[in-house]
């Protein structure tokens, strides 16, 4: 049996699971000629969902009149420094004509022109709309446009907005890490936005979070023995990438004959494999969200580390200050819902936070702090270790909660942690 887990790779075709509610929501909006921004954290499944709904047989199964549509799929990362808005429109039209020549017929003459005039574009899409047709453009990595000066312009973004909102002939489904509000703010930053209207307010946001328990468990059960399923869920929570990684590691372990008592030994390797993902997620969090996440990480230690007992009631109270950040992290799958609130769903992510961001024993960040600490303590080498050093870890653990909460209250924690 070949390993069915493919981490870091979009799940296409039969590998795609879950997301029934999101699929339904996207097609409901397409039926109303509405536009959607699929938004989510790295590797939460945006590309997989986008491609799944764009797949012709899936599209046809969810749409009453599939013959009215032309389907286009564009990855914005294919646009580099030399590309212009004309290249975007030409590619979109070329794909639409290829997908459904009859529906896209009014657009075809524009392909003969090297530069696509926005007025002509609008009129052509209007014709498509009047004939009850619609070009549905699935645009992945939509926020990449902000990296390209040729695309963060009113000529491009204004035309895209006007055509999708008013022509009735173009429906846009995007996937991005940035939320609609963040993209609107960037529109302001680059001075693209017109007075009084947000550039991306025509996109209805659909945020992707974690999978649900039942789907993940069922899927894992198809490929792993029961004990391995439990370990995978413990390690990964319900995050799509982490489930793939944990599934991959456990599938391989089971194949090699590793028994359940040996499963915890896989944790360290999993943290290493997921490290770039954790760093990516961390980088995208706001300072306040980082503070909240650290408090969750401390709270979830449950007072067991280093033989010390923590009383983190204060930490729990401070989480009230970060209500909106906590909710946003839960929506995006950084946190998961639990009885009576939220928690870090993945043991691997929790361990990474503790090691990297609290104790600071891995990675580049703590080097300076540690060197400073050595000097402050007038650390001495006598060839062997001092008593002070032997007690180091325990002392650190002992003082961490107070320090963290104090820093958090003063909003200094992100600086201290970066």
């Amino acid at each position: 049996m070949s390993n069915p887990f493919l981490p870091f790779t979009p799940a296409f075709g039969p590998d795609f699971v879950n997301r029934d509610a999101e699929i339904k929501a996207v097609f409901e909006r397409i039926a109303k000629r509405g536009n959607t921004a699929i938004v989510g954290n790295p590797h939460v499944g945006k590309t997989s969902l986008l491609h799944h709904v764009a797949t012709p047989h899936v599209f046809a199964a969810h749409t009453p009149n599939p013959e009215q549509y032309a389907i286009v799929e564009i990855d914005f990362q294919l646009f580099g420094e030399s590309k212009t808005r004309h290249d975007f429109w030409r590619e979109l039209i070329a794909q639409a004509v290829e997908s459904n020549p009859a529906i896209a017929a009014p657009l075809k003459p524009l392909l003969k022109k090297k530069e696509v005039d926005e007025q002509a574009l609008f009129r052509a899409f209007q014709k498509v709309g009047r004939a009850e047709g619609c070009v549905v453009a699935f645009v992945d990595e939509f926020d990449h446009l902000f990296n390209l000066p040729a695309f963060r312009t009113l000529d491009f973004l204004g035309a895209l907005r006007a055509i999708t909102m008013k022509s009735k002939g173009l429906c846009l489904i995007t996937a991005s890490r940035l939320s609609v509000a963040q993209m609107n703010a960037l529109g302001e930053e680059y001075k693209v936005a017109t007075r009084g209207s947000d550039l991306f307010n025509y996109l209805d946001e659909l945020t992707l979070g974690c999978f649900d328990e039942a789907s993940v468990r069922t899927w894992l059960k198809n490929h792993l023995p029961p004990e391995a399923v439990d370990e995978a869920l413990l390690l990964a929570g319900h995050h799509p990438l982490l489930v793939q990684l944990a599934g991959d590691a456990l599938f391989d372990a089971v194949e090699r004959g590793v028994q359940p008592p040996g499963y915890p030994a896989l944790r360290d390797a999993l943290i290493h494999r997921a490290e770039s993902q954790f760093q990516d997620v961390w980088k995208y969090l706001s300072s306040k969200a980082q503070i909240a996440l650290i408090i969750f990480a401390l709270r979830d230690l449950r007072g067991g580390a280093g033989g010390q007992t923590f009383n983190l009631e204060k930490a729990e109270q401070t989480l009230l200050w970060y209500g909106s950040e906590v909710k946003e992290m839960a929506r995006r799958g950084t946190l998961e819902t639990a009885t009576g609130g939220y928690r870090i769903g993945s043991v691997a992510f929790h361990l990474w936070l503790v090691e990297q961001k609290i104790v600071g024993t891995r990675g580049d960040e703590p080097q300076e702090a540690f060197t400073q600490w050595l000097h402050n303590k007038q650390f001495k080498l006598g060839g062997l270790i001092t008593n002070e050093e032997i007690a180091w870890l325990q002392k650190v653990w002992k003082v961490i909660p107070t320090n963290i909460i104090d820093l958090a209250k003063k909003a200094l924690l992100p600086n201290a942690l970066q």
Partner: protein, 331 residues
């Protein structure tokens, strides 16, 4: 060519990625076998052992240190297709020849080509050795096609089904992402679809097996003391083919190249590892701080832990280097 020693698990992981159309980054410090592992992936007789349908896969290998001065996205793809037309399995050669006739190496033309390849169950594996050099070359100003090439590589290797990208680099994926972050501060980093295959020190059993296969048992024991599990040191010893069991002779003969290696590799250590090694200074350390970095150094084959938990340099060569070249005087 130096043979690849050990690395069966890593080779299995790399071929597993290749077989399922995934992309990967083989990462590790200098001289740990990254290039040799990559070369194995490109060898037809090895692929035939590991892949179910090697005839449906074309491998293109590129050395990042040997890029032409006029290197651009277009010239890069032209060279890929020139090789495919000459060396790929017949089914891919036909497709590549037809595509090359169009002369269009633009991102969308390439996407159509690789998507079609994927649909037909055909795939190209693009192997880039010395990827750090490749990136530096690409990012050297004016770097006009860096974003275009990197974005296209990411898109094609993650979405088309017809291209796998496997790179060998000293730096980890997160560091590669950081190196290119200025090009694309918004959206997905260019390398977050690459799965890491990390080359560390050999497992104890694997190292013993290599030494026992290479030397008489008495010499193998001496070599073990001098090299530990460190892949480069073992490879040095295997190439030197020592005939004497004299420890000091072996140590002296291997030290110059080992010292050179440590000097370079030391610069690639992250976190507290350099500080920790400086503190260690070739001696034994009962209970140091920074447990994560300690584990990392053990994994790399720099340190070993005794049965009583005391840390020591994992090889005499490292102990010697630390004592003579790097120990800090903090007394």
């Amino acid at each position: 060519m130096t043979p690849l020693l050990g690395r069966e698990a890593e080779l299995r992981a790399a071929f597993s990625r290749l077989a399922s159309g995934q992309s990967a980054a083989i990462v590790g410090e200098p001289d740990t076998g990254k290039s040799l592992l990559l070369a194995q992936l490109a060898r037809a007789e090895v692929s035939a052992e590991w892949l179910p349908h090697p005839e449906r896969l074309a491998v293109f290998i590129l050395d990042g240190r040997r890029l032409p001065a006029n290197f651009t996205a277009a010239t890069f793809w032209q060279s890929v297709f020139t090789t495919l037309r000459a060396e790929a399995p017949p089914a891919i050669r036909v497709e590549a020849t037809q595509f090359a006739k169009t002369g269009d190496y633009g991102a969308f033309a390439l996407e159509r080509f690789f998507r079609q390849m994927g649909r037909s169950g055909l795939r190209v594996a693009l192997l880039v050795d010395h990827f750090g050099h490749f990136l530096s070359h690409l990012l050297t100003p004016p770097a006009t096609s860096a974003g275009e090439l990197l974005g296209t590589l990411r898109s094609l290797s993650s979405r088309s089904g017809g291209l796998s990208l496997i790179v060998a680099a000293r730096r980890r994926v997160s560091e590669l992402n950081q190196q290119t972050a200025q090009l694309n501060p918004r959206g997905s980093p260019y390398f977050n679809t690459l799965q890491e295959i990390r080359l560390g020190a050999f497992e104890r059993g694997e190292a013993r097996k290599i030494l026992e296969a290479s030397f008489d048992s008495s010499i193998a024991q001496t070599v073990w003391t001098v090299t530990g599990r460190h892949p480069f040191l073992i490879s040095l010893a295997v190439q030197a083919r020592p005939s004497s069991v004299e420890l000091s002779t072996l140590l002296t003969s291997l030290a110059p190249r080992a010292d050179e290696h440590f000097k370079i590799a030391f610069g690639f250590l992250g976190g507290l590892a350099p500080t920790l090694l400086s503190l260690l200074g070739g001696k034994r350390l009962p209970r140091p701080p920074a447990p994560g970095d300690v584990e990392d150094l053990i994994w790399r084959g720099w340190l070993d832990r005794d049965s009583d938990g005391i840390l020591r340099p994992a090889s005499l060569l490292l102990a010697r280097w630390l004592e003579t070249s790097h120990a800090l005087n903090l007394h």
